[in-house]
Every structure is written in structure tokens, then in C-alpha cells.
């Protein structure tokens, strides 16, 4: 017991009385581990976070009636069936569309009716499915509204309407006519700019296609959608769910590159930081040559010296590693908040990893110089300066 007590006393005092040296080494370990821990935390989340960010491109799945169906229509019930197959937290949004051709009057010109494409849809999830739409005015948030219309930019321009105007559309198929107030104009840069949008129910009524839709777009999180899509196609009849390759495969490619980039960057930072911490600790140990020589002169074996230094290093590394992890985790949150506006998840694995890393580096960095000195004759160390 007495021997252990003395051992602990020596190790403890080595910390207490050499405060400035210990502080430098401790600081180096804390900051080094902190940076490594924070970057690793970010790295582990990067796929999920970037995947969420890439939803800014909009829909990556499209639902349509299967190729057997000739009239390209499906019942809205099918949509609900498919929606229920997705996990709520993975389904970012979905939007059904019903298309038809109607006639609209050009503003101010009596009785000139031009054919336009009418799209019946739901506007509540446009932010999720088509976040890139530029909206002037307002979309129809309420699905029940049946007296308002949203125009594509080109449609508005060429028909001559602006927000607040009243537009009459006539469906030749059902003979129904409706007056609608223009509540919003959208700019997309694609076909939608030429189209006229109303609530789905109204379109179904005007086109005489109750409960029918032509297509639905989904924005879904996650990689590896193919097996999920395959499974849904097997279990729900009459429809076909497809990945919009333009979005989905590009997302895959981009994510892969970003992950690869982060990995390499983190590895290089890891290597560099470890080396910096190691060289700092090596220098500190080299300073204690005299002490090592003295102890050997007093009869210490090489193993005694090595164990003493290893214990000091392990304690320094252990505490430094834990504190470093704490700071690193906070740093990761700072990065997460500024770039992704969200929290980086706590991965239990990083804690012991940081701890072990710090202890290992600390021990290795101490042992290498100690091993170099420990075999020297004490006489050399004690006589020389």
C-alpha cells in the first residue's frame, strides 16, 4: 500500500508543481481532441443533413397509373394508399396533379377564348415539393377554396391577367364555367409557367373527373429509395411509383462526393492535430531528462520510469479527452446550427473514441521520448547539462 501511495504521490505532484507545462500539454490535448471530436460528429451526420438540404431540388418520386391503364388516370384512393406506405418522418411532402385543357378569355378582348392547360392540385405542400417556385401573391392554402386561381407567369402575361383580376374559364367537356380571382402568379422556368392552377376538387368538377388524378409527386428523404419503391409497386396495384432519376441519382452522386470530401478533410485534420499534440508532449517530456537520470541513479528500473510517465500521460490524456469531447460537441452544434439550422445528433460512440484517442496519443507521445532517454546512463544525464 505504501508503495502505491508513494507512486500516486509522485504522479500527483508531477501534475501540481509543474502547472505551466501540464497546462500547455492539457490545452493542446483539449483543443486537439475538441476539433477532432466536433468534426467527426459533423461527419457522421453529414449524409442525413445534406440529404435534407438536397430536398431543396423538390420531388424525387413520381406516382402514375401503370402503363396498362390507357387513359392515364388513377383514383385518388391509390394516392392515399401509397402515402401510408412511407414513414412520416421520411415523407417531406407530396402533391397530386390532374390535367385538362380548358378555355380562358384573354383579358380585355371580348370573347376570345384561348385553350390553356388547367392543373388541379393541392397547394399546402408546394413548399416541400416545389420549394424553388417563385410566388408572387399567395397560393391557395385551403383545399376547399373554389373561386381562386394561380397562374403561371407566361400564362398570366399572355392572357393579360394580374393578381386581383377575375378570370373566367370554361370547360368544353362538361360545359361548366367558373369565374376565378387571380390570387398568385408563379415563376418556375418550366412548363408550369404556361399553366393555370386551381384546387384539385374544382378541377375534378370542371373536367368531370371526380376522384381522379393523373400524377402525384413525392419528396422523400433518404438514400436507397429503390428497394422501397420496388416494394410499394409490388403491394399496390394499378399504379407505378418511380424515382425521378434526374433528382434522385444526382442527389446520390453529390452526397457521395460530399461525404468523401468530409472524410478526407477530417482525416487530414486528425493526422495533423495528432502530430502537433505529439510533438508538444514530446518536448515536454524531453525536459525531464535530468529527473529520469536521477531516478535511475537512485535505483529505478526502466520499467518504473516508463510506468510513471505512462500513468501521468494516461491521466492527462483521459481528462483532456473528455473535456475536449465536451468542447468538440459544442463546436459541432455551432457548425450544425450555422450551416444546417439543426442540431448535430449525439453519437455515443464518439465519447469513448475521443477518450481512447486522447489517452493513446498522450501515452505514445510521452513514451517515445522516454524510451529514448531511459537507456542512457544516468551518469551522462547527471554530469552533462
Amino acid at each position: 500500500m505504501k508503495k502505491l501511495q508513494m507512486f500516486l504521490r509522485m504522479v500527483g505532484k508531477a501534475f501540481k508543481e509543474r502547472k505551466s507545462r501540464v497546462a500547455i500539454a492539457f490545452f493542446a490535448i483539449v483543443v486537439g481532441v475538441g476539433i477532432i471530436a466536433s468534426l467527426f460528429s459533423v461527419y457522421y451526420d453529414i449524409s442525413i443533413k445534406m440529404s435534407e438540404e438536397l430536398r431543396v431540388y423538390g420531388a424525387n418520386l413520381v406516382l402514375a397509373p401503370d402503363s396498362q391503364t390507357s387513359n392515364k388516370e388513377m383514383n385518388i384512393k391509390e394516392l392515399n394508399k401509397v402515402v401510408n406506405k412511407f414513414d412520416k418522418d421520411k415523407l417531406v411532402g407530396y402533391r397530386p396533379n390532374l390535367y385538362g385543357v380548358v378555355k380562358a378569355k384573354t383579358k380585355g378582348v371580348l370573347d376570345v377564348k384561348k385553350p390553356v392547360v388547367l392543373v388541379g392540385t393541392w397547394f399546402d405542400q408546394v413548399d416541400q415539393v416545389n420549394p424553388y417556385w417563385k410566388v408572387e401573391g399567395e397560393l391557395l392554402a385551403n383545399k376547399k377554396v373554389d373561386d381562386e386561381v394561380v397562374l403561371g407567369k407566361e400564362a398570366a402575361k399572355k392572357l393579360g391577367y394580374d393578381i386581383g383580376d377575375t378570370l373566367t374559364i370554361l370547360s368544353e367537356k362538361t360545359g361548366k364555367q367558373k369565374e376565378l380571382i387571380v390570387s398568385g402568379i408563379i415563376t418556375t422556368g418550366n412548363e408550369a409557367d404556361n399553366q393555370v392552377f386551381v384546387n384539385l376538387t374544382l378541377a375534378q368538377e370542371l373536367l368531370g373527373k371526380t376522384n381522379k388524378i393523373n400524377v402525384a409527386y413525392f419528396s422523400v428523404l433518404g438514400q436507397g429509395l429503390r428497394p422501397k419503391v420496388k416494394q410499394i409497386n409490388k403491394t399496390v396495384d394499378g399504379i407505378e411509383l418511380e424515382t425521378i432519376k434526374k433528382i434522385a441519382s444526382s442527389e446520390g452522386k453529390v452526397l457521395k462526393k460530399i461525404k468523401s470530401l468530409m472524410y478526407l478533410v477530417v482525416m487530414i485534420i486528425l493526422l495533423s492535430t495528432l502530430l502537433c499534440v505529439s510533438t508538444t508532449m514530446m518536448t515536454i517530456v524531453t525536459e525531464r531528462k535530468e529527473e529520469i537520470g536521477l531516478k535511475k541513479a537512485l535505483g529505478a528500473e526502466n520499467s518504473n520510469i516508463i510506468i510513471e510517465f505512462l500513468t501521468e500521460a494516461a491521466i492527462l490524456g483521459g481528462i483532456g479527452g473528455l473535456v475536449g469531447y465536451g468542447i468538440g460537441f459544442l463546436g459541432a452544434q455551432a457548425i450544425g446550427q450555422s450551416v444546417f439550422d439543426s442540431y448535430i445528433s449525439f453519437r455515443i460512440m464518439v465519447v469513448p473514441a475521443s477518450f481512447i484517442l486522447a489517452v493513446l496519443v498522450s501515452c505514445l507521445a510521452s513514451i517515445i521520448p522516454v524510451r529514448m532517454v531511459v537507456d542512457i546512463d544516468p551518469a551522462v544525464v547527471l554530469k552533462g547539462e
Binding site: K2, K3, R9, E17, A297, L298, G299, A379
Partner: protein, 228 residues
């Protein structure tokens, strides 16, 4: 057979640098011997050999009947630990340990760390009341006395001192030399390396080295009684 025996000992570096050249001598138990000579005479080399910090190139060095010439580092350390107490010119105390702890360090590597015993050792050198001070809080003389206490703690056969008063002022030098006298009276074997003839003459016997060789036959100093 003496406590320490050197039989035709040589220490050769490189081709022909002879730090010690065919030296033979005996030191009996209880003797106080001083090794003297100018710089480069081989004093340090002899000290290192007898202190089990080095082995001879030729010849045999026997400490308490053990021939250390053939021992490996680990065995050398063992002999040093058990038989020799070292006192250095530069003191060499662990700067972050107190006086009593510095003495305990020597105990620790030997057997057990007994604080009571360490304090007693400090008492014997007149520093019982300074045990909890750090080396930087002690005067040169006090530090050296701590070293002596440390050297004694494991009941060594030989006290080996390298210029023990080299870094001390006159007053502290006298205190330390008085201590050595006391130890000699108590029967300890002391070997002291020094370049200062006044200090050297305090010993019973002076061994003079010059260029690695013994300069003259070991003689008993006639002036011993006068100097004390």
C-alpha cells in the same frame, strides 16, 4: 578483500583514449577516501564505475565481493540501489517534491516508502523541521544535506560523493563536511571525489589520479587530525 576492489581496471574510449589506465586499489569498510586530480584525470570515470553507472573495458570492479564488470544494466541498477548512496555536486533533487518526499523516492525504488523513516533521516542531518519544504525553498547547504539523507536512507555500504561541496559557500561547506565527519565516525564508508586539496585532506586516505593512472601509492594523510 576490501569493500571496493579495482583490479587492473581500464576504461578505454575509441582506439586509445584511456580514461582509466590499469588502475588497482582497495577500499576497506569504514574508510574515508578522497579521489583527487585535475580535470580529465579520470576521477569521474572511476566514480561512474564504482557507482555502478558504467562497466570497465578491462579488469574487474568488485563491490562487496560482487564483480560488476560482467553485469547487465538491470543487475548494475540492483547493485547500485542496494549498496551505494550517491551525493552529487548539482544536488539533483526532484524539483516538485518536498525534502521528505525526495528522500522517500530513494526508498520507493528500493523497497518501501516509509515517511517516518525518511523524516528521521532528515533529523539526522539536522533538517527535521524543513521536511515539507520544496528544494527551491532550501539553501544550497540544506539541499545537499537532503541529498545526504537520501543517500543514507537505504543503509548503503558505500557513500559515493562527487564534489559534494562544489556548489556551496564556505559556511555550508563546513556544515556538510562536519556531517561527513560524523558519518565517518559512525562507521560509514565514504568515497569522495574532489579537486579541492583542502577538502581532500580531510579524508583518511587520498588517492591521486593523473591521466587515468594512479599518481602515487595510496597514503594515509598525516594532516587529518590537524584539519578536523
Amino acid at each position: 578483500m576490501g569493500l571496493i576492489t579495482l583490479e587492473n581496471v581500464s576504461k578505454i574510449y575509441g582506439e586509445d583514449v584511456r580514461a582509466l589506465d590499469n588502475v588497482s586499489l582497495d577500499i576497506e569498510e569504514g574508510e574515508w577516501v578522497s579521489i583527487m586530480g585535475p580535470s580529465g584525470s579520470g576521477k569521474s570515470t572511476m566514480l561512474n564505475l564504482i557507482g555502478c553507472m558504467d562497466t570497465p573495458s578491462k579488469g574487474a570492479v568488485k563491490i562487496d565481493s560482487i564483480d560488476i564488470s560482467e553485469l547487465d544494466k538491470k543487475e548494475l541498477t540492483k547493485v547500485r540501489r542496494e549498496k551505494i548512496g550517491l551525493v552529487f555536486q548539482q544536488f539533483h533533487l526532484v524539483p516538485y517534491l518536498t525534502a521528505v518526499e525526495n528522500v522517500m523516492v530513494a526508498q520507493y525504488y528500493h523497497s518501501m516508502a516509509e515517511e517516518e523513516e525518511a523524516r528521521q533521516a532528515l533529523e539526522r542531518v539536522g533538517l527535521g523541521h524543513r521536511g515539507d519544504h520544496l528544494p527551491k525553498e532550501l539553501s544550497g547547504g540544506e539541499q545537499q544535506r537532503v541529498c545526504i539523507a537520501r543517500a543514507l536512507i537505504n543503509y548503503p555500504k558505500l557513500i559515493l560523493a562527487d564534489e559534494p561541496t562544489g556548489n556551496l559557500d564556505k559556511e555550508n561547506e563546513n556544515i556538510v563536511l562536519d556531517l561527513f565527519n560524523e558519518l565517518h565516525d559512525q562507521g560509514h564508508t565514504i568515497m569522495m571525489v574532489t579537486h579541492d586539496p583542502k577538502v581532500g585532506q580531510l579524508a583518511e586516505r587520498q588517492i591521486n589520479l593523473d591521466h587515468g593512472k594512479l599518481k602515487d601509492k595510496p597514503q594515509i594523510s598525516e594532516d587529518k587530525e590537524l584539519v578536523s
